[in-house]
Every structure is written in C-alpha cells, then in structure tokens.
Amino acid sequence: MSENSIRDVFLEEAKEILRHLEADLIQLEENPDDEVVHRIFRYVHTIKGSSGIAGFDEVYEFTHRLENLLDAVRNKKVPVEKALVDLLLESMDWVAEAIYEHANAERKKFLDEKVASFGSFSAKEGEAVLARTENVQAEKPANYFLVRASFKPTIFENGIDPLLILEDLVSLGSVEHRRVHFDKLPALRDMDPEKCYLEWTILLKTFHPRQKLDEAFLFVKDDNDISIEDVTNDFTDSERRAGGIQERKVGEILVRRGVITEEELDTVLSIQRETNKKIGDIIVEKGFADEKAVQQALGDQNRIKSRIQATTVRVETKKLDTLLNLLGEIVISQSSIARMAEELEEEQGYRLKNALYGMDRITREFQEQIMAIRMIPIGPTFEQFRRFVRDVADDVHKEIRLDIRGSETELDKTVIEQISDPLKHMIRNAIDHGIETPQERQKAGKKPVGTITLNAYHQEGNVFIEIIDDGRGLDRAAIRRKAVERGLIKGDEEINDRQLQEFLFMPGFSTAEQVGELSGRGVGMDVVRTNIEALRGTVELFSEPGKGTTIRIKLPLTLAIIEGMLVRVGKNVYIIPLLSIVESLQPVRDSIKTVEGKGEVLLVRDEYVPLVRLYQHFGIDSDFTNPWEALVVVVESGTSRIGIMVDDLVGQQQIVIKSLDNFITKSRALSGAAIMGDGTVALIIDVHGMVGEIAT
C-alpha cells in the first residue's frame, strides 16, 4: 500500500471510529457499563495503533496517554463521572482536529494541558502519564529490541511451555529476525525429551516500551537466561507496514458469535497491527478458534464488508446523478416513441407497443437499481445528533434523553444530506419549546428526564421520519392568540388542527415567551417546510397538550421518476402524481354544494371534500365551467382530500421530474415540471401544496 492510501484508509476509518466513540461516550454517561468502557478502550486503542502506522505521531502519543487513562477507568481505578466524560469528549475533539488539520502551536499547548490533566485522574499509573511534550516529540514510534532467551533445561517440569512465552513476546510487535539455536540439542537417542535444550535470538520491532516486553517473561525471568536489549538506534525504519485495518472486523464477528472473547480479540488486534498477519491466521495460531469458524466469519465479513462499503460511498454521487439523468432521458424518449406507436396501423403498432411495454419494465427496474445504490441507512445521521442534544440540553438546563429507532431505514443519499439541517432545527425546537424544565416536568407528574425520539420507517413507497417529544405539546390557546394578533383569524373564529399547523409554518410565527439565544422567532419552521417540500416531501404536526408533540416527515422513496396522470384544462396539460389520486369521477349536479365562507364542496362517497376549479386556481381558460360537465380528480395528501376539476384526462405515463426553481412561482401547488414526449413542458401539481393553499 502506498503512503497516501494508508493515510486515506486511516482518515476514513478514524472518522467512523470517532463517530462511534462520540455515541459511546454519551452512552457511557447515561449508562456506565463495562461493555461500553471496553468498547471505548478498544476504539481508542485502534486509533492509537492506526495513527502510529499512518504516521500521525502526535495523535499516536496523545491517544497512547488517553489509552492509559481508559485502562485506569477499565480497572475501576478512575470513576466514570461527568467531568471525565467531558474531558474524554474534548479529547476526542482534539483528536478529530489533529487528524484533519495541520499542526500548529495551539495544539501543542492543548496537548500539554490535556496531558497534565490526565495526570490528575490517574496519578497512580506506573507509566509516565505526565509526559513532557519534549519527550512526546523525541520518541520515535517504533523500537527495536534484541531478545536473547535461553531457558533452563528443567523448565518443562515447572509446567511452562517456553513456546507460549515467546509467542506472547512476538505478539507485541513484529519479528524482524529470528534464530533458533539448537547446538545444545543432543542426538535423538541421547536426548531426554523432557528437558529443554533450545535457545532463541529474536529481533523484535515494536511500539511497546521495554516494560511490556519484560512482562512477557515475568514468570521465567528469575531462573532463566533472558536478555532484552534496546537496539533501536541501530535501525531506521522508513517503511511503514500497511495495516490490515479493515480486517479487524472478522475478529469482531467472531467475538459477537462468542467464538473468541474480547480479551483474545485485543491480543489478536495488537498482533495484527504490528505483524501485518491476517486476523484469521493469528486467531487460529493462538488457538482461540478453529479454522472453520474463521472461514465462516470471513464469508460473513465479505457480505458485511459490502454493506459497510455502502455506508461509506464517497462522492460518486455525481456519477450516479449522471446515470439517473440519462435514465430520465430514456424515459422521455420512450414516451415519444410510445406516442408515435399510437399513430401507427394496428398491425405494426401492436408489435411496437409490445416491445415498448418490455422496455418500460426494464427502465423501471433500472431506475430501482440506481436508486438502491444511492440508499444509505439513516442511522449515522441520527447518531450524530446525540452530541447535539446533549450540548443543547446542557445549555438550557434541561435533562433530555435521545431515543433512536429505525436506524437501518434507508434513504437516498442526497435526501439524507438535505434533511440533516431541517432535522436539527426541529430537534432544537423540541428541546427549546417542547421539553419542559425538570422542575416543570415533576410538577406535571412526569419524569424529570424528557425523551426525544427519532424514528424512521418505510411505508407504501415512502419514508417516514418522526421527531417525537414527550414535552408540553402545542399551546393551542397561545397559537390562537398569536394568530388573532397578526390578523390571521377573527377573535371568535374556530380553528382546526390543520389551520393550527399552517400558522406554525408561517415565517416569523412564534409563541415562545422569550426569544432564546438559540432559537426564538419560531426557528423557521417555514424554512424547514420549504426544504422538505423541495424534496417533494411533506411535514405534519400532531400534538397533545401536556403529553407531547410529534412531527412527521414523509419523503418519497424515488426522487425523480414517478407515475403521472396527465390532465387537461383548456390548452394546458398538467400532471397529477398517480400515487396521490384516490379516484376520478364525473360528479352529478346535486353533489356539489357551496358552504359559506369555505367555498364549494363535493360529495364523494359520504364525505364532503373541497372542490378546486383548476382553471380558477391557475387563472387559465378552460373548456368547461360546470363541474358536472367536466371531470373531478379526487386526490389525497396525508389525511386531507380535495377534488380537482379538470376538462379531461389525457393519459398516464412515467415521468421524470425536473425541479422548478423557487423564484419562478409563488404557488405551492406546483412543485416541478416534466418534459413530455413531444418536447413540451408540463407542470406537476403538488397535491400537498395545493391542499395547504386551499386551507388558508
């Protein structure tokens, strides 16, 4: 592996580890259990090793000290407290910064201070925790030791197998040179097989200090001839071993299966890092598991690897975007050809149409495959909010738990990137306005710790993301007041839930008593909605006073290609997404009524739905002005339904959605456009947007 790719692999891996670390540290605070501590220790251990290999010396040294501290925590010599977690989180931030930016004097100072503060936590540690930074810089990561081992002949009688000791020794580093001396070994017929005659000379390259090597010989150094000589100065090592950094995952799989223990994994990982042997081989060598179990795990690892690869798909999205665009053009061409096929004679037309059906099926599947590549789980996005929630909750002196569900739910990569900010907004809102202070909660008979739940799931071709808080819910009275204040409704007018929502989504609308430093001004729920609608999604609010609020975001699974129903009004053709259509009908005169102050409604199967005359709504000419002479398409968004009056239904086809820039129109009823087979542009009706427009 070249220098650059070792570095890249390290950067990539470190990023992921730091993310996991952050999540675990926060979990540690809430729930200090041994497993979490072990995990954290292992993560830091991994970064330490990898940073050493990749040449990030400062990071290596820092994490080395950090590892000592964590070791003390692991051995219960240092208690888990908020102060500790704060320090660990800060240290992590330092590591993140150090890894991704260039060195500067600031960091050196921080390093000094932090290392000094570690000392205050674990003053009992044998190793020099209070390292001077001069030492830190002077030490080279790799040391070379010449080990000479000659065991006493009766060593087997003590029940000791020197081979094990030596294997332990070499697990601490990598063997540069090894020599077995059997000059003391007599001939086969003369020897006493129960006596030891062999000696070794080993040149070991290791990141461990001398003491660690001494430890390997702890039980034998007294009456055996062991010598360890530091010969580092005799060597310069410019070549770094490539780390099989991603290979540790096989080990993790085996641990999860209970085939090897975590301690064994630790040993294996350190051997692997320093000797570059395959994890599987080391495991079998050390006798921790048999080859069969390892092979099985390797098989799984390959499967998992591809999944892991999926979560780290890099900026190939540009290429995927190109693919999708091309596919979109195919769809458009297809519809041109379909049109031409319509105009052909029966015989020819028939065969061509058949061929086109086949092609249609293929394009649809093609599209699904491309979309599948772009899908990544939402878990990491959710997880990154843990830190955010902790910090913000701290700032406003509230106690809040973040509950995450549905981490495996997959969304298109672009969509995930774009909802990240809106989600943050809404979580902040929930913290600021939703969850009450611990005192208020207790007074209300609730637990002092509030819960915010992030949930994600698939349903009927859509992805739903929910932000649920168990706070105080929306204050209807306050919203009413605000609405009256702003002249949106009259003093005695009733408002239903839908209108309530609409008000909240208006720019600048806020019922917050104080304009907090963090939010205030109703933190742009209007901006949030705009962002989500730009992704052709919808946002809905549900709330129960005193119990909490749920924000539900619905996003389409397929971004760009949908089934559309073409409708005509006068000379204009519009597209209504098929998924939103409930039914189409030609209404009878009697079924249409006018409700005062609300407009026209249409009776559809025992339900009155608002009637929208599209020609009126859009200010265009139409063939018909009487609904009973025309057609009404009943559409649905969430739980709301409306009937859209059009002149005629033209047909149904797959369409590629092209977005409309925001400034083109103020109408929320139009969210995009599509290019028809004949090259003209047809505007796509946004059902949710139209429903919203009607309501106000």
Partner: protein, 169 residues
Amino acid sequence: MNAAENKKAAHESAEQEMKQYVTFVIGNEYYGVEVLKVQEIIGMTQIVHVPNSADFMKGVINLRGTVVPVVDMRTRFRMPEREYDMFTVIIIVEVKNRMIGMIVDSVSDVVDMAESSIQETPHFAAKIETDYIRGMGQVDDKLVIILDIDKILSASDLEKMGQDAEESK
C-alpha cells in the same frame, strides 16, 4: 518597479483588458452581456406559462431536457409589450449556477470592449433602473448599455419582484 507602481500597472492593464459582449436589442436600445455568462441563444419556442408568477416571468421552456425559466426583458424593464416575431430570441444565461432565459427583440453582434471604455451612467440617462446597469460604452457608433445580469436576474430580486407583483394585483 515598487509596489505602488506595480499596482498601478496592473490596474492599467486591467483597464486595457478587452472583454467580449453579446449585444442585443430591446426597444430602441442596444444592450450587452458578458459573453462568458451566455450559455446559448435560441429562437422563440413554446413557453409554458406558470400560474401565480410575476408578470415578467413568461414561463418555462424545455432546453434539451432541462426546464429553464424565461423572463420577458421588456416586461422586466417596464417597457410596452410587443408581439414576438422571427427575430425574437431567447438568450440563455447562467446566473448563480442557474440557467435563465431572457427574451429580447433581436440579437446583434459580439463585440470587444475595453473596461476603460465603459463609463458610469448618470442616473437619468437610461430608461431602465440604473441599478441594473454596469455602465455604457461606445462600439462603432452604437451606444451599448452593459447589463449587470446577476443583479437583474438574481433570485431574491425576482422573488421580491414577484411579491410586489402579487401585492399590486
């Protein structure tokens, strides 16, 4: 040369720098836009009107698979409207990473103009709001008004205009 002299020299050469402009006609005047900002020029094509849009927003067109909004420059500059004829073209420009089309009466030559020859416009000199004008220059015997495209077609401006249009209805 010392620093001050260097600066002056650089400034001078910048002034001498020749840039190319696409010139076109709206009303009786010649206008110009930096050629680098022009994507292409197409003939009049079917424009699909978009409801609830500002009056100068004529609609959208299909430009090889991309939906591009089109602005009628006459309406934008509050000039009387006129029927489109065979000379009417749409100049597709790139503004802040978006493509927008400008409908103009006709297109003229691509000319070279030095920065130094572009003079500031006195407030009353042009028919259109001088905010949108970078300057005026002379090419042969024509007076060319150099437009600041970014300003004229900036999204926020358009949105605002849109709102104004709404309110004035």
